[in-house]
Point group: C2
Chain length 278, copies 2
């Protein structure tokens, strides 16, 4: 089965994208909703919590685990990949970065995310590592040196969780956060947090039509489909009965309520279970 780990509910926006394009695969989702959000915690704690969550998914039968949370991917993925080289653990950063590099016209890339994601600087490093792969001097839009501007926007997650999508206060706060990105004339913006797709239209409106918005969860879903095509030895071991099982570390009732909003459809009572992951 495919395991998808998230720090809480936001990762369900990635699951939503995955189910749109590949509904046949069985999916195990684990949201650490008892300890969400990770965004403001120390790297040590984020790593510890992520390790517990990812190992729990393998213990439940996952063959491959995707980390949907940007903060957990930024702070814990490399450590987990080197600690467990025999396990398949994939994050959200590389897919989002690759999609941004495929789409950018002038290499002026913006990143917006939680404090933990931005402070790790991993998005910037991944862009710089990969830019040469996308550099082709014969192309008109050839980019050799990217210009990267990153901004942390810690208030967007609580505003979205409150459902304040259309409120004037949210628009004002978003405008404030986007000011340095507009000022840097970015042509591509990575939404480096699973919550932000709820504000995608607002981002597009504020940044203008010329700016390409990258939904990191959608990029992760698409790139994972490509990955499975390139790795039939992994793909053939994945069960395909269209099953979905949701685990939460907090109450299943609460998960069902908020989770259904993030997934975009009702989650059945019997497909949610509480899991102790300490």
């Amino acid at each position: 089965m495919i395991g998808i780990f998230d720090s809480g509910f936001g990762g369900l926006t990635m699951v939503r994208e995955w189910l749109k394009i590949s509904p046949e695969y069985d999916v195990l989702f684990l949201g650490d909703s008892a300890r969400t959000p990770y965004g403001n915690r120390s790297i040590t704690t984020i790593t510890e919590f992520t390790e517990q969550g990812v190992l729990s998914l393998f213990a439940q039968g996952a063959k491959v685990v995707l980390i949907a949370c940007n903060t957990a991917s930024s702070d814990a993925l490399r450590y987990l990949q080197s600690k467990y080289p025999e396990k398949k653990i994939l994050g959200v950063l590389v897919p989002a970065v690759e999609e941004a590099l495929e789409k950018t016209r002038f290499g002026r890339i913006g990143i917006i995310g939680t404090r933990g994601t931005i402070a790790s600087n991993n998005y910037t490093q991944e862009i710089q590592k990969r830019i040469s792969k996308f550099y082709n001097p014969s192309e008109k839009r050839a980019v050799k040196e990217p210009v990267i501007t990153s901004v942390s926007a810690p208030l967007l997650v609580p505003l979205i969780e409150e459902g304040w999508i259309k409120k004037p206060e949210t628009r004002m706060i978003l405008k404030k956060y986007l000011f340095p990105l507009k000022h840097a004339h970015i042509d591509t913006l990575i939404l480096a947090c699973t919550h932000y797709p709820f504000l995608e239209q607002e981002f597009q409106k504020k940044m203008g039509k010329q700016c390409t918005i990258i939904n990191s969860g959608a990029a992760q879903a698409r790139k994972f489909r490509d990955y499975l095509q390139q790795h039939p030895e992994i793909e053939k071991n994945l069960s395909k009965k269209g099953l979905r099982q949701f685990y939460t570390t907090d109450s299943p009732d609460r998960f069902r309520e908020l989770g259904s909003v993030f997934l975009g459809k009702k989650i059945g009572k019997h497909s949610i279970e509480k899991l102790e992951i300490e």
Copy 2:
């Protein structure tokens, strides 16, 4: 020693009030900063986390434990008091309610707090339970039936943690939350969250001079001093060397940084320790 438990950093505003009036007592503080905030979690999880935290403080040598967090007090205190009748565990609700009932002129009381605190309805119940004690028909301001209006304000904690105290967005959001309280013509407002004292001036300004603002942490500190005077058998067992020891479940560096803001003075590096409380 006196143990003070909080879900994160906010409880340090209560410690600040306590040290102002009783600096001689030794204090052990534990902030569950790795799992903060509690405000949006289920009662089961809040109770479990609070129990772990309170027991850890007793294990570290506390003779009495004060729960500074309003959410933890609302959702877990009664359960812990009945499960551990031999232990002294005190919350923040009763002190805040008593102070509100002492000060209200017309019994029109407002409560503002996190979703968890307001949903539990415990503040309202505590007010109703105690109103008769304060009812004296010979008094001009005699109140027989309180009129209670409660409002949950989930965005205030993140705004305060971001330091957005003076921003226009915060004023707009506060105005929105206070609208039903103004409309109900309350004469006394309980700030039922340890973070809110940072906005006390804004609350006063928006509610007007006629409204008495109750800082729940300050009430808890004052009432605990009274409690010790009435219970010399407990008071005599408390050490009085002016020691302060801070425990956190996340990184000590992060605790030092944010904690110093909430305490209102620098916390020394050597007085912070990480504690595993699972």
